[in-house]
């Protein structure tokens, strides 16, 4: 169903809509920042302290860089999971409620 631009602009003033967008936007920005810091931190570590990453983890062949690299991969998957979990649990039903209300 198409809605007029005026109805959309009224919806933009709805406090629940504003709250939803603020919360979802904040979550997205926070997770983006975590990913950016973790990845660029990893790259800077590679650029500035190669010996640290090459250091043996527990006296064996496995180096400190292995769990750190693995950690960045798992972090990316985990952050994605957190966002999807929150969006599916909270945001979707709020969006549906706001849209249904606006239709009435």
């Amino acid at each position: 169903m198409e809605q007029g631009e005026a109805a959309l602009e009224r919806l933009a003033e709805d406090p629940r809509y504003r709250r939803l967008v603020r919360r979802r936007g904040r979550l997205g920005l926070a997770l983006t920042a975590i990913m950016l810091v973790a990845y660029l931190g990893f790259v800077l570590l590679v650029a500035f302290d190669k010996p640290l990453l090459a250091r043996s983890l527990a006296g064996g062949a496995t180096s400190l860089g292995i769990p750190i690299g693995l950690g960045v991969i798992l972090l990316a998957i985990a952050l994605t999971g957190i966002y999807v979990y929150r969006a599916n649990r909270e945001f979707d039903s709020e969006v549906a409620a706001i849209v249904a209300e606006a239709r009435r």
Binding site: M35, Y39, L44, A47, K50, I66, V72, A76, L79, V84
Partner: protein, 541 residues
């Protein structure tokens, strides 16, 4: 030479034949269901989040990343992991900033979203140009890689190999549209994940633990260095070197720049963004990114094990080495030889067939993306001002597919002997410097105007391309000059902020009548993008 390890290539050919028959059957099935423009460009919006996640992962698990990254790990160890992490971390960004809003605003191409509240002609023209450039460079890299790989695996002459790839992808896209392209990608993703899982499991089984695998790999590298005349301490150091960062990242500026290109380029690749229009709603778009991130991350862990497995099982086995101790068939063959070491001729054939299938699936997606930019953005929206009928638009799209295939075959043959390694990272840098800033600011900044995005996108695109030409990869390696004018490995650190700054400055200075319309459209666009009201093909909203 026919087979990779000198044996006959028949198992490979037979299995590749099976794949071709299967994909042609899929194409036939998809062709019956492809009637409208929405079917052709977006598979009718009927792909599920899980399926789309596999297809997206398939687009990223190209032959270049499977063979290239495992080869890099085979050669340098840890460096390959650094590279693969860069390809993964863009996905969370796509989810947090783009995926749902794209799905809510767009229909077929990312230009639908970028031009939503702006003047159609200039923004779509820019988006189509950048799509074609990104697709073209990506396509050339894939075609050249394909030709070399197929010549090696199947013993076919290079031009035939390139032509076969071109003809197959044309069939998929021409008749089966997005539905066939997606399912070919899904089938290939499952085959590739299966083959890589088997290889990694076999490697870990054989060594017992990752630690044992790493220890043997360090020994193998040390022994190889000693055999080349290194003193014992030097050999030991050479062995240990594979467990830490080496020469991949030279200076911090190049490192950050390449990191930014990979991270934000993912959020601007047209053939990837297009996949978000194949799912029914924002929720499915979100789910597809979660699946894609999981599969791609898992795949890179597998390639890491495969690369280290190859150091021990391939790098110490004279069957796979030439007289000088180098890998037979070139560096990219590490994973293919490992397949032979693990599962003999039959599994070698299977992995070769999967590698071929991978190339076909990836080039089909690229071609469809390029064709939509021409037919949907340039022809229907710019040339016919949105008045084109669907039949004519689809005809233009199909003609473009054929033209693109011919261009890809010609360029593939032309670039056979060229070093094309820079092309994929150039595609990422252009996507990060043009498409990403344009999309992000048009979605989230009220003050953004038509003039702003066109100027900023053009600056980002030109700068990314120009600085790459002046960088060592082209200026020195391809053009043969002594020193590069632009000394860094990737332009993104400069071209991406330049694009953002240009959009901001030009938009701020823009007091035209159009600018007022652009800004007035923001609130309604934002509400649509956040709620999915009025989304194309949306169900339940």
């Amino acid at each position: 030479m026919t087979g990779a390890s000198g044996g006959p290539g028949w198992p490979a050919l037979a299995m590749f034949g099976c794949f071709v028959l299967l994909t042609l059957a899929i194409t036939r099935w998809a062709a019956r269901r492809t009637r409208t423009a929405a079917d052709f460009y977006a598979a009718g919006g009927g792909i599920t989040g899980f399926q789309n996640g596999l297809a997206i992962a398939g687009d990223f698990m190209s032959a270049a990343s499977f063979l290239g990254i495992s080869a890099q790990i085979f050669a340098d160890g840890y460096d390959g992991l650094i590279y693969s992490i860069g390809f993964l971390v863009g996905w969370p960004i796509v989810l947090f900033l783009m995926a749902e809003r794209l799905r809510n605003l767009g229909r077929f191409t990312f230009a639908d979203v970028a031009s939503f509240r702006f003047a159609q002609t200039p923004v779509r023209t820019l988006a189509a140009m950048s799509t074609l450039l990104v697709v073209l460079f990506y396509l050339i890299a894939q075609m050249v890689g394909a030709g070399q790989l197929i010549r090696l695996l199947f013993g076919l002459p290079y031009p035939y190999a390139v032509a076969i790839v071109g003809v197959m992808m044309t069939l998929y896209v021409l008749f089966g549209g997005m539905l066939a392209t997606t399912w070919v990608q899904i089938v290939k993703a499952v085959l590739l994940l299966g083959a890589a899982s088997f290889m990694a499991a076999a490697v870990l089984w054989q060594f017992g633990s990752p630690e044992a695998l790493f220890a043997r790999a360090v020994q193998a590298k040390a022994a190889a260095a000693a055999a080349k005349g290194a003193t014992p301490p030097e050999a030991l150091a050479a062995g240990r070197a594979i467990m830490g960062p080496g020469g991949f990242i030279k200076d911090p500026v190049s490192a950050i720049s390449l990191g930014l290109a990979l991270m934000f380029g993912t959020a601007g690749l047209p053939h990837i963004l297009m996949r978000f229009f194949t799912v029914p709603d924002a929720r499915a778009a979100r789910t597809s990114v979660l699946w894609a991130t999981g599969w791609i991350g898992y795949f890179y862990l597998l390639t890491f094990v495969i690369g280290f497995g190859a150091i021990v099982l391939v790098g110490t086995d004279p069957r796979y080495l030439d007289a000088a101790g180098a890998l037979r068939g070139g560096g990219n063959m590490a994973a293919v030889h490992l397949a032979h070491a693990i599962g003999g001729d039959l599994f070698l054939g299977f992995v070769s067939a999967v590698a071929f299938a991978t190339i076909l699936a990836v080039v089909a997606g690229l071609t469809l993306s390029g064709a939509s930019a021409v037919s949907h953005d340039l022809y229907a929206s710019v040339f016919r001002r949105g008045q084109a009928d669907q039949v004519a638009e689809l005809r233009v799209s199909r003609v473009t597919v054929v033209v693109l295939a011919l261009v890809a075959i010609a360029l593939g043959i032309l670039f056979e002997k060229q070093n094309v390694a820079f092309m994929v990272s150039l595609a990422f840098a252009m996507a990060a410097s043009a498409n990403f800033p344009v999309l992000l600011l048009s979605l989230l900044w009220r003050g953004c105007t038509t003039r702003g995005v066109v100027a900023g996108g053009a600056v980002g695109l030109t700068l990314a391309l120009g600085l790459t030409i002046l960088s060592p990869a082209i200026w020195v390696t391809v053009l043969g000059h002594a020193a590069a004018i632009f000394p860094y490995g990737s332009p993104a650190l400069f071209s991406m902020p330049a694009a953002f700054a240009t959009i901001w400055l030009v938009s701020r200075a823009d007091h035209s009548r159009r600018a007022a319309v652009d800004r007035a459209g923001y609130v309604a666009q934002r509400v649509r993008s956040e709620t999915g009201i009025g989304a194309a093909g949306a169900s339940g909203h």
